[in-house]
Structure formats: C-alpha cells, structure tokens
C-alpha cells in the first residue's frame, strides 16, 4: 500500500499498484473502514453534479486514495455533437479531486441532435484518425494534461478500415502525445470476436515509448450465442488472466492495474479477492499460456 501524504491532507495523486472501480453500492464500506486497495477509479460523469452525496463521498475518499477519472460519455470520435460543456464539467471535476490519471475511450457516442450514451465502435480509417487525433489534442490542450485512451471491445468492425486498433492507438500516441489505457479483457474479447491476435497486440504495444501505457483494466465478459460480450459483470476469466501475465512480461513494470466491475455489482470482498490475484500474475507465478 502506498501512502503519500501531502499538505492538503490528501494522499498524493499518483496511482500505482492495484485499484478497484468505486461504485455507490460500496460507499458505506469505504466510508466505514480502510479498504486494502491502492487507488480508486470512477466514471467521471457520475460526479458531474454541482454537488451532492456522490461528490461528497468521492472527495472524502480522495483523502485516503488516489483517484483515476474514467470518462464514458464524451465520445471523442463522434463526427458531430462534441460538447465543450462536457469538457468544462470534466475540468471542474479534475480541479475537485486532483486525479492521478484521466482517461477516455477509443469510441464515438453521438450524432447531431442525439447522444447514444454508449461506447460505439469507431471506423478505423484515416478520416476517423484525423478527427480523433484532433479531438484528443483539443482535449489535452483544454485540460492541460495528458489523456489516456482506452482500447474498446466491439461487436462489429467496418469494411473500409485502414488500420487495426493497435495501429490506430500507436499513431495516436505518436501524433498527440496521449497515453493508452490498456484493457486486457477488451483485447481478448476482440480476439475472440474478430480474430485479432491479442498477443501480437501486446508485442506491438511493448514497442511504444516508455510510459505510453498508464493503466491496465481487467474485467469479466460473457460468452453469448453470437460473440463475447464485454459486460463487466463477472470475475476475470482464466484466459484474460493469462493474457495479463503476458502483458506483465512484455510491458513496463508497475503499470497500475484496475479491477473493473459495472453490472451485477457484488460484495466488495469479491472485488478485493480479484485484486489480490493481480500480483501473482504480474510476478509470473502462474503458468499456462493458452490464450
């Protein structure tokens, strides 16, 4: 456990070690006792209010835990309806909680006149890259900080794609200086849904400049009749743990790792048990590489 007190009465902002997603079902537990996690992640939009209980809890817990802000509603790849008001609320939240990391998704989520409020699959073509890179640069300029972009799981790919997701993200790092939030579960889901080689993806990500990957996500998925669905409602699968062990070998050490759980939220003890597994796979203590 890293504890890094600063004069404000808060621990420092840097995230390291293993974190869990903070969900309202666990507020009481976190407020009543010290929970053995190194940091917390929240969905930024859940704390966009002018005030209220959620923000109170987050600011209270921020005294003891570094926080990562994970955006789910900006939709950087939307051709229309990129909202400056949304960024202003994100900026206000950043000022309130002094996060260690701020992330968004490689996705889009709106058309003119309508938000879809989902992480929709981006066409991976040159036009989308130009738009997305410009948006990332704009966001970084407005927030005056590095933004990390997460690879997403998708159920479809497009016929006119000019590149794969790793090529897109790597070019994004090169052109904008942004970082990557690597979701290992999403790599696995896309491998199963689209035949994209997850291990090869890790090898290519390992070639990026140092510190390009600022955070790793681990989550559960569900096998359906048609494909894998990235629903974050179960424990991390053995295959994803194995892929994570590979990632730990190939990528830099000490990348902060998050256990992510968004649906059918279980008791906090389930998340903590998952978090406890992380060092075992990071240290190569668990064999079995059948990804």
């Amino acid at each position: 456990m890293s504890r890094n007190p600063v004069s404000s009465g808060r621990v420092g902002s840097r995230i390291s070690g293993v974190g869990v997603g903070l969900r309202s079902q666990h507020y009481r537990h976190f407020l009543s006792e010290h929970v053995p996690v190194d940091w917390l992640e929240v969905h930024s939009e859940n704390y966009f209010g002018d005030g209220g209980y959620d923000l109170f809890v987050l600011q209270k817990l921020r005294e003891n835990y570094p926080v990562s802000l994970h955006g789910v509603g900006l939709g950087l790849g939307s051709a229309h309806n990129y909202r400056i008001e949304h960024i202003a609320k994100l900026q206000r939240l950043i000022e309130r909680v002094d996060p260690g990391l701020v992330s968004e998704h490689l996705c889009w989520g709106a058309i003119a006149g309508r938000h879809v409020n989902d992480l929709l699959p981006l066409a991976l073509n040159n036009a989308a890259f130009e738009l997305f890179a410009a948006r990332v640069s704009d966001l970084q300029d407005r927030l005056r900080r590095r933004i990390y972009i997460e690879n997403v799981s998708t159920y479809v790919r497009f016929i006119h794609d000019d590149m794969d997701e790793i090529e897109f993200l790597s070019a994004l790092v090169k052109h904008t200086g942004c970082g990557i939030l690597l979701d290992v579960n999403n790599l696995y889901v896309n491998q199963m849904n689209h035949g994209e080689d997850a291990l090869q993806a890790l090898n290519r990500l390992a070639l990026l400049p140092a510190s390009s990957i600022g955070e790793i996500h681990l989550a559960g998925h569900t096998q359906t009749e048609l494909c894998l669905v990235d629903d974050h409602g179960s424990c991390v699968s053995d295959s994803v743990w194995t892929l994570f062990a590979h990632a730990s070998e190939l990528l830099e050490q000490d990348i902060p790792v998050l256990i992510e759980w968004d649906t059918d939220i279980p008791d906090i003890s389930v998340l903590l048990a998952e978090a406890k597994k992380v060092p075992r796979y990071q240290n190569g203590l668990v064999a079995g590489y059948a990804v």
């Binding site: 209010g49 005030g51 209220g52 789910v72 949304h86 409020n117």
Partner: protein
C-alpha cells in the same frame, strides 16, 4: 460504397433506432456475423434508457411495473433524444412525454408525480450550498441591527417548491421504504410540498397551503415580513414560530438577503 464518418455514424444510429434499417449499416460491416451482433448495441441503448429513467423516476417505476416502464423508456428515448453524455441528465422531459403519449389520459396524476420526481432527481445533484440555521439567522440579524422581518432568504440550491392538484406528495411518501406500498387516500387532492436535502437525503415534505404561499413569496425575493404578512391576512392564527422552526430544520435556506 465509401461513406463519410458522419454519414456512417448517422446510419449506425438510424439502424439502432429503426431495426428495419439494419441492412443499410450491415453493408459497411466487415463480417457477416456483425449484422446479428449489432443487436447488442440496440439492446444496450434501450437498457441505458431504462436504467437512467428508473434511477430518476423510481416511484413511477413502482406504479407502472417493470414491463410497462421498459416500453415507456423505449418510446421516450426515441421521442426525446438524449442531449448529454451525462446520463444523469436524461429524463427531464418525461412529464411532457407522459402527456404526448396519452398515458396521462388514464393516469392524470402521473404528470405532476413525474415533475416531483424530476425535482427530487435534480436536488440530488444540486450544489452544496451552506444551510442557514435558525440560531445563525437570528444572530446574524441581531448583529446587523435589523428585525427578522426585514430579511430576505435565499433558498438552498437543492430546494424547490412543489404544488399539484393531485396527492403527489402523499403518493411519493408511501412508496418510500416499502416493497408493497398501498395508497388508500384520495388521489384528487390539492397538495403542496418542499423538496429539501438536509444531510444529503433528498426528500419532499408536505406543506400547508399558506406555508407554501409564504415560501413562494420568499423565493420570489420578498422579505420575511412581507411573506408572513401575506399569509396572516388569510389566517391570523398562522403559527409563525412553528413554521419558521420547520423551515429551518428542513434546511430550506442558505443565506440572508438584506438588500
């Protein structure tokens, strides 16, 4: 068959909203399996609408049941496009939708109930204004050398007044904390209430009509003396002390306006 990013995204959303248009987007997918998988995005969309509206309108959800609510959420999401990437902002036009869709023909009190639930929803996320206590108010006015009646009072950001010709406050109240609520009072009954958030807990408290009138006057910027004078003209026995005590206990006010 090249297509601009904006047009591709437009077709994608059109197919989400209108299943018959799936063919128009499927031609842009890289694999035949994708057409079937596209239904997951459509399912997500309706699940998101349902979840966001259920969060904002829990009593309406209890009243109409899960199945009807889900159909209502689907129709609302199509009719009133989400205008924000923040899902907590979804649902503000549901009262109007209840009229547009004809639901209020059979359940006329649903409109006002939905208005009340949206007031409560907004209160949850309102700014953390300070709460003015009665002792602080009295002390501050004494220090200024002013009579209490000269003060105007600013309401806390989470506070709003509610008025209906239906028993909305009573209906909301019986649906708190019970799995099997029953409302056996008269639905057609004028009601007045105030939405507050003391200690983070958002709630609505029933008011007497004259108390509502006094608070409305205060909200409109009139002084405490003017507000109370108005209601005393209606009822000379209006209990100023007990009402002031209740209002301050509920955390209705945040600061004094003495201009």
């Amino acid at each position: 068959m090249t297509i601009s990013l904006a047009d591709l995204q437009q077709k994608f959303v059109s197919a989400l909203l209108i299943p018959d248009e799936t063919e128009t987007i499927a031609g842009y997918f890289s694999s035949p399996e994708a057409k079937g998988r596209f239904s997951y995005y459509r399912g997500n969309l309706t699940a998101i609408w349902n979840s966001a509206l259920k969060n904002a309108y829990p009593v309406l959800f209890q009243l109409v049941g899960a199945e009807f609510f889900e159909q209502m959420a689907k129709a609302y999401g199509r009719a009133y496009p989400s205008q924000s990437g923040d899902l907590n902002e979804l649902g503000g036009q549901l009262p109007q939708f209840l009229i547009d869709s004809g639901i209020t023909k059979d359940y006329p009190y649903f409109y006002d109930l939905a208005v009340l639930e949206w007031q409560l929803h907004k209160a949850y996320y309102a700014a953390d204004d300070p709460i003015l206590t009665l002792p602080s108010f009295v002390s501050a006015m004494e220090q200024k050398g002013l009579a209490l009646s000269e003060a105007g009072l600013s309401m806390h950001a989470a506070v709003s007044l509610h008025q209906s010709d239906w028993a909305t406050v009573d209906i909301w109240t019986v649906h708190q904390g019970s799995d099997t609520p029953s409302f056996d009072g008269s639905l057609k009954k004028a009601c007045f209430g105030v939405v507050t958030r003391p200690d983070w807990l958002v709630s609505v408290t029933a008011l007497e009509e004259l108390a509502y009138i006094a608070l409305r006057a205060l909200q409109d910027g009139r002084s405490l003396g003017d507000a109370l004078e108005t209601v005393l003209q209606h009822d000379p026995d209006f209990s100023i002390g007990s009402h002031l005590s209740q209002w301050f206990t509920l955390g209705i006010f945040s600061s004094i306006k003495t201009e």
